[in-house]
């Protein structure tokens, strides 16, 4: 059971939150102008990192705010949380092979 530091409410247990997948994917500003490949990339493709991962969460049973989390997907160590409009914290990134 993860302990997730909501930037608005503080640390709460995992079951108050919902997951939003990879962070910093940006919806193309003019979707009609992008290729099918680029659109598929936006829709479906994932970094799916084994290691330090920047991901989106929403405090669904709390403040209902979306935010980003930096978490190690192997160890579940949380490196920090930041608001959508904020820059990610500086983290020593790890990727496992």
């Amino acid at each position: 059971m993860l302990l997730i530091p909501c930037p608005y409410c503080g640390a709460r247990t995992e079951n108050e939150f919902a997951y939003g997948g990879e962070a910093h994917k940006v919806r193309p500003e003019h979707p009609e102008e992008v290729s099918d490949e680029a659109w598929a990339d936006y829709l479906f493709l994932q970094k799916n990192t084994n290691g330090t991962y920047y991901e989106r969460w929403v405090h669904a049973h709390g403040c209902r705010r979306w935010f980003n989390l930096v978490r190690d997907t192997l160890t579940n160590q949380v490196h920090g949380a930041y608001k959508i409009e904020e820059e990610p914290p500086k983290v020593d990134e790890t990727t496992y092979v």
């Binding site: 079951n15 997951y19 997948g21 099918d36 829709l43 994932q46 970094k47 990192t49 997907t73 092979v97």
Partner: protein
């Protein structure tokens, strides 16, 4: 030629205190080059190598495995085998596999304990009833055995079930596939490894992939912890870690890796005789030949590579088990674990060519890979050998995410949209 296994060979070996059994498979050091390298020594990878050698005459091949054979999802699943999938493409794939399961023990001369004890899929809401019937009709017209059960039929098949489901989600019926069942998961890996080894396939454990050599868009080799291996055909069959290897080869996949949880109880005398899956409340149960209740829980809601799961998932599943089988409330959980599954947006696998020439993909099986093992390997071997998708594999190409031709098994699972 290896000695065949039988009651007679057991008796013969008993006379020499079982001291003369041969190795089930050899563990050579990797050669400098191979005609093909299969990355991933789980069931799917081993079957791929088996058919490359057996049906495509490729004997100079290797299976390389980072850990130990069958140590990934092959050895961590709830061993359910069935083919009652709704979409034609999926049905073709899983039925192809089921037919191979039916002959696997004999073909391998290794008892994989394929037990066609029937699989029930319960329906708990009107919407599930509709979807279940739709799937049954589809199965039937695809030539797959699948029958609707009214609640009283469910009770006849599973006398210990509480049809009231505790009151909240009563059992409104379900489907049954009688040819479906379970198998001994480890035995599948070992049986195919033994058969591969006998045909000269090199099985190399403790050998991690560290990178790929790619020249002009064509793969030319694999860099491993046991050195460089030259090859221009690489099959990636690594389940949860497909994303990691795709990143090494320079492309991304539409895959999220997540722990899927399972657990077993203490062993008890036979009490439940088939496999019962309740999708709405996420509780899958069967009883192993050893007597343990084998229970499949859900996938974690977030990405993860640890073979541990999150406890709310276990709590929900066990609450559901207590609802459907009130007499199991006093049973005790012996062990819980997780397997890292590679889930695609449409809950269907990716089988076929990749953006790099010579690299072939077999991944994205999510929670459903074990049942497909022999079929997956069979059509993947054909794909690798002939550098084009096998007809059954064709709909499962990576390109479907561009065209939108998804095979959305969520729809078939009755997941509300």
């Amino acid at each position: 030629m290896k000695a065949r296994y039988s009651i007679f060979s057991l008796a013969r070996n008993a006379l020499s205190y079982h001291e003369n059994w041969q190795q089930a498979w050899h563990s050579p050091e990797p050669k400098k080059s191979y005609d093909a390298v299969i990355v991933g020594g789980g069931g799917h990878g081993l079957v791929t190598a088996y058919y490359l050698a057996k049906e495509h005459g490729m004997r100079n091949i290797a299976v390389i495995e980072r850990g130990w054979l069958g140590g990934g999802n092959t050895g961590r699943n709830t061993t359910i085998v069935r083919s009652n999938y709704m979409w034609d493409q999926s049905a073709a794939l899983y039925e192809h596999a089921l037919k191979l399961w039916e002959n696997m023990t004999r073909e391998l001369n290794f008892n994989v304990m394929f037990s066609q004890r029937s699989v029930l899929n319960l329906a708990h809401t009107q919407n599930e009833v509709r979807i279940t019937k739709r799937r049954i009709h589809s199965n039937r017209l695809n030539g797959i055995d699948s029958t609707w059960l009214d609640p009283e039929d469910v009770k006849r098949e599973v006398p210990i079930i509480d049809l009231r489901g505790g009151g909240r989600y009563p059992v409104l019926g379900g489907s049954i596939q009688r040819r479906a069942g379970t198998a001994r998961h480890d035995a599948v890996a070992w049986g195919y490894a033994r058969a591969c080894s006998e045909m000269g396939v090199d099985i190399i454990q403790q050998c991690a992939v560290e990178g790929f050599d790619i020249e002009g868009g064509q793969v030319t080799g694999v860099r491993t912890s046991k050195g460089q291996i030259k090859t221009n055909k690489v099959g990636l069959v690594v389940a949860g870690h497909c994303g990691v290897l795709a990143n090494m080869a320079g492309f991304k996949l539409p895959v999220n890796s997540r722990p899927l949880q399972a657990l077993v109880s203490e062993p008890v005398k036979p009490i439940i005789h088939n496999v019962v899956m309740a999708g709405a409340v996420h509780a899958y149960i069967s009883q192993s030949d050893k007597g343990e209740l084998v229970i499949g829980a859900g996938t974690d809601a977030y990405n993860g590579y640890s073979q541990w799961g999150s406890n709310p998932v276990t709590e929900d599943t066990l609450a559901a088990i207590c609802e459907l089988y009130p007499l199991f409330r006093r049973m005790r959980m012996l062990r819980q674990w997780g397997g890292v599954v590679d889930t695609c947006p449409d809950a269907s696998p990716i089988i076929g060519l990749s953006p790099v020439k010579g690299i072939y993909l077999n991944c994205g099986w999510g929670t459903g890979g074990f049942k497909a093992t022999p079929g997956s390997g069979h059509i993947f071997a054909d794909t690798v050998a002939n550098n084009r998708p096998h007809p059954i594999a064709a709909p499962f190409a990576l390109d479907r995410f561009r065209t939108g031709f998804l095979i959305d098994e969520h729809a078939a699972a009755g997941v509300a949209h």
